[in-house]
């Protein structure tokens, strides 16, 4: 009887296999749980710290408002000293003392060299203040009434449009550092802040990273006000809301979000606001910082915030009900939420007629597929599924691979890495050398490697095709993420052949389906399926047929045309 029972008990090998089958998925599950919970605890900690700092700031604020030390006193020497204490050690801060015309009232202007408009200061501020301001007979009475003097100067002397009164030293100093000019007059307990800001900016140029054949040759610049002006200039639209935020704890920077009030989903706007307010970094150097700090999933290889230099692209996104984020100091505006299809679209699709646009769009999807899968398919065909190649092609592939000492994966890796290095090197080189180096490097490496028998000519074709396809994707960073995933696909292909490629594809799909950008599924309108949104997905239907805005964005007003 024992024997009979024992014969039903499986061998040790089976138990071992069972153990592996159970524990490996369990370990993977635990692993990712670990990452997620780590992220969460980190966030919690950050929140606590934030709360504490906020409380501290409030306390300090209360304290400072109680003590009157930081306010201007009206005593000229003391006031100048106060400002000098704050910023006087800086080389570019200038203090110019003078007497107001025909009197002996002492005054001083403080300004920042470089940021403020010197011509304006010389011609309109100093000239009018130092000229014949007051008649002799009025002198006495006005001198006694300090406040009256101030209004008099404001109303009758200074021909400057932007004038504010400032009592707080800290705030006035902040403005001076941005280029305003502070005017301190003896006997007056505040300063006049004169708007003399003249920021450095460059001309509007065609964006280099997003060139079009047809479309406006206009790109954003580094100046926020110019950029918002570009959006306003697009056309009269009273619904265009531009809301301002300050980001950066130490270096404060202006950031605006733009949306169309009557179209954009209020929940989306709230979400964007919330995420921007959660940025606590000390300095936001570029909109890339914002992008990385507000994106949904930092582990995903896909970009979840679109960046663009083109005002027309931004405006088109706004009209679809999306939200744009513009940061001072960078020409790159951000658009949220993003779906995968946006990365393969170009503004030109809408400017050209629908048939060529549709075909070009389909071509881009093909290019994306080639970028992602061409090398891995080559590897799986050459190393695993030779039966799937047409016989004559198999013969020529066999012939060309004769004498190649590496398996297909190594061969592919050598060439792919070489081409990535070439690309990176060509990017950083000075413009006149860049293309030459690319061509020479490409030709030499391709030709010589084949001659030397390190790689097969067909591999060179595959690699070249892949590289060219990856540049056919209009969004540069989308191309990068596909190129990155290509290597993963290659390893999968090397391990399991076509089966592995399909596994990889499924893995990618399951990730994409789960991924969301600001609450919008990343691969919509594929999943969730919305037939009406397919009009502007892989194909672009005629404009007459696109009468509704994309449903996935839950817009307030869904109709585009009647």
């Amino acid at each position: 009887m024992w024997g009979k029972i024992l014969s039903y008990i499986p061998e040790w090998k089976v138990f071992m296999q069972g153990f592996i089958v159970f524990f490996i998925p369990y370990i993977i599950f635990k692993l990712f749980n670990g990452i997620v919970s780590k992220q969460k605890t980190h966030e919690d900690e950050m929140k606590e710290i934030n709360d504490q700092t906020n409380q501290k700031v409030e306390l300090e604020h209360q304290k400072s408002s109680q003590g009157s030390y930081d306010h201007y006193t009206g005593d000229f020497n003391l006031d100048v000293e106060l400002v000098k204490n704050e910023i006087g050690h800086n080389w570019d801060v200038h203090v110019r003392e003078f007497h107001i015309g025909n009197t002996d009232i002492r005054a001083a202007i403080i300004f920042l060299d470089g940021l403020s408009d010197k011509e304006l200061i010389d011609k309109h501020i100093l000239a009018s203040l130092m000229g014949n301001v007051l008649k002799k007979d009025e002198q006495e009475s006005i001198y006694e009434k300090g406040v009256f003097l101030q209004t008099f100067i404001k109303n009758e002397v200074l021909s400057v449009s932007d004038i504010t009164e400032e009592y707080d030293v800290k705030q006035s100093v902040g403005k001076i550092l941005l280029g305003a000019t502070a005017l301190i007059i003896d006997g007056i307990p505040n300063v006049l802040m004169l708007g003399t800001v003249k920021g450095k900016s460059r001309n509007f140029e065609e964006p280099v990273s997003e060139a079009l054949v047809r479309g406006p040759r206009l790109g954003f610049t580094e100046t926020l006000s110019d950029n918002t002006a570009l959006l306003r200039q697009h056309g009269e639209n009273s619904d265009l809301s531009i809301i301002n935020f300050q980001v950066g704890k130490r270096t404060k920077k202006e950031l605006v979000i733009a949306y169309i009030q009557e179209i954009a989903d209020p929940n989306l706007i709230e979400e964007v606001k919330k995420r921007i307010q959660s940025i606590t970094i000390d300095d936001v150097a570029e909109s890339g910082y914002v992008e990385q700090l507000i994106e949904d999933n930092y582990l995903s290889p896909f970009t979840q915030v679109q960046n663009t230099e083109r005002p027309d692209r931004v405006f088109a996104a706004l009209m679809e009900g999306r939200v744009a984020i513009l940061l001072d100091g960078t020409p790159f505006a951000l658009i949220v939420p993003v779906t995968f299809s946006m990365l393969l679209q170009s503004p030109e699709d809408y400017y050209e007629r629908w048939l060529p646009s549709t075909l070009i769009r389909l071509l881009r999807y093909l290019a994306a597929a080639i970028t992602l899968f061409a090398p891995s398919l080559y590897i799986s065909f050459v190393s695993f599924h030779q039966g799937l190649i047409p016989t004559k092609l198999a013969l020529s592939m066999m012939g060309t691979r004769e004498g190649v000492p590496f398996p297909a994966i190594i061969e592919a890796l050598i060439m792919e890495v070489a081409i990535e290095i070439l690309r990176e090197a060509g990017l950083r080189l000075p413009k006149p050398i860049g293309p030459t180096m690319g061509i020479v490097g490409g030709l030499v490496i391709g030709e010589a490697a084949v001659q030397a028998g390190i790689v097969s000519p067909i591999m060179v074709i595959v690699v070249a095709l892949t590289a060219i396809s990856s540049f056919a994707i209009p969004q540069y960073n989308a191309g990068i993420s596909l190129r990155m995933l290509r290597f993963v696909a290659m390893f999968f292909a090397a391990l399991f052949g076509l089966y592995g490629v399909i596994l990889f594809f499924l893995l990618l799909c399951s990730h994409l389906v789960k991924l969301k950008s600001f609450g919008i599924p990343y691969v919509s309108p594929t999943v969730p399926y919305r037939a009406s949104d397919w009009k502007d997905f892989m194909v672009r239907m005629p404009l007459m047929m696109m009468k509704r805005r994309p449903k996935m964005l839950h817009t307030k007003d869904s109709s585009r045309q009647d």
């Binding site: 016989t391 190649v404 398996p407 994966i409 052949g497």
Partner: protein, 400 residues
């Protein structure tokens, strides 16, 4: 502390998943240049006693049993090479033969003399020698090839007159005979002397039904491969019964109506000069008649075509009278072809290879149930009427 712990776990997990991937290795990975693609296979009956003694294993036992010789045509990375090099011309293929008493052991023995791994997924053609086909049951010997994972259902089956391994030899070293055979087979659309290709996909059905069928036969004359007629495989024994000549095969093609193109050469009655009729389309209908125990068939053949060439100088080509006469002459010729082949398959081979049984089964299933057991026998005594109707609808020659 907690963060460190998490980090450690993360690293461990990463390590484990990498190990998991690497442990699997690149299993069943084989580089294409290490393969020897089998593009063609021939099967022969071994008659040479010398080679029988050479194969040691068989010496001990079964020394009287028929042995089979399998020749595989390999194409490898070396034979395709990088184009023909200067001076010497390289042979584009490499034939490897091995003798044994069953298919698989013989194939496995080839490993002993071949450095390339055999890979049959690109196998195009299997040629069976005359002796082999008339000795062995095809159903039994082909079973291995039909069930082999690497074999494709698109592979062709041919019967060779004489030795099959000769077919896989070519006097032009740059050509691969197996591919040549496949390309030649495509000619069946232009001539009635080649039957529609018998692929493995179709063969399986034929082998498992009791019906007789035809296979294209091929011969190697002076190092030249040539299609000559067809081989008749008897349904019951699944063995080669005999061959049909090219002319006889034409008759079969007319009966089945499968001809998509081809020529009929007839002679003008009055002057005995040739008229060549080119087929544009053919239609045939086999109508069975059952009268009690007596079964008879009517074959109705209709064809449309053009006169592609004629040497009759005395007549006006576009004259309707001439065309009528030409039609008559062609009809007579086709009838002669059909009669000729019917005589041969009914009386000499006693096998039904042109689908008479199928029609009977469809139209009189009850009768078929009775006769299907020895249909080939009954078929040999069945009267068959033939009716040919040719329409010339196109002038292919100059004339007035």
């Amino acid at each position: 502390m907690k963060l460190n712990y998490m980090k450690g776990r993360f690293k461990l997990g990463l390590l484990l998943s990498f190990i998991l991937l690497l442990l699997t290795g690149c299993w069943s990975s084989k580089e294409i240049e290490d393969l020897g693609l089998i593009v063609g296979t021939s099967l022969d009956l071994e008659t040479d006693t010398n080679s029988r003694e050479e194969s040691e294993e068989q010496e001990a036992r079964n020394s009287n049993k028929e042995l089979i010789t399998i020749t595989n045509q390999f194409v490898t990375s070396e034979t395709t090479g990088s184009g023909p090099k200067e001076g010497k011309k390289q042979q584009a293929y490499k034939n490897v033969s091995e003798t044994g008493d069953a298919v698989l052991p013989t194939l496995r023995n080839m490993i002993l003399k071949n450095d390339k791994r055999a890979f049959a997924e690109h196998s195009k053609v299997i040629v069976i020698g005359e002796d082999f086909a008339s000795t062995f049951n095809l159903k039994q010997t082909m079973d291995f090839f039909l069930r082999e994972l690497e074999m494709r259902p698109s592979a062709l089956l041919l019967i060779a007159k004489n030795h099959a391994s000769n077919i896989l030899e070519s006097n032009e070293p740059s050509k691969i005979p197996a591919f040549q055979l496949v390309e030649m087979m495509k000619g069946h659309k232009k001539t009635t002397k080649i039957i529609p290709p018998m692929t493995f996909a179709k063969l399986e059905g034929k082998l498992y039904s009791e019906a007789s069928f035809l296979l294209q036969s091929v011969v190697s004359e002076n190092d030249e491969i040539k299609f000559v007629g067809a081989a008749v495989i008897e349904g019951k024994t699944k063995k080669l019964r005999g061959f049909l000549t090219g002319k006889e095969l034409e008759g079969i093609t007319w009966i089945t109506g499968k001809g998509k193109g081809g020529l009929v050469t007839s002679f003008y009655e009055e002057t005995d000069q040739p008229i060549i009729y080119e087929i544009i389309s053919t239609k045939s209908k086999i109508i069975p008649h059952v009268d009690g125990e007596n079964i008879s068939f009517n074959v109705k053949i209709e064809s449309e075509g053009r006169i592609a060439e004629h040497w009759v100088l005395s007549e006006k080509t576009f004259d309707n009278k001439f065309l009528k006469k030409a039609e008559k002459a062609t009809e007579k010729e086709v009838e002669r072809l059909v009669k000729n082949v019917l005589d041969k398959i009914q009386h000499e081979y006693q096998t039904d290879v042109s689908g008479f049984g199928t029609r009977l089964r469809i139209e009189y299933p009850k009768v078929w149930e009775k006769v299907k057991k020895d249909w080939d026998q009954i078929f040999s005594g069945v009267p068959i009427q033939c009716e040919v109707n040719i329409t010339i609808k196109d002038y292919g020659t100059s004339g007035e």
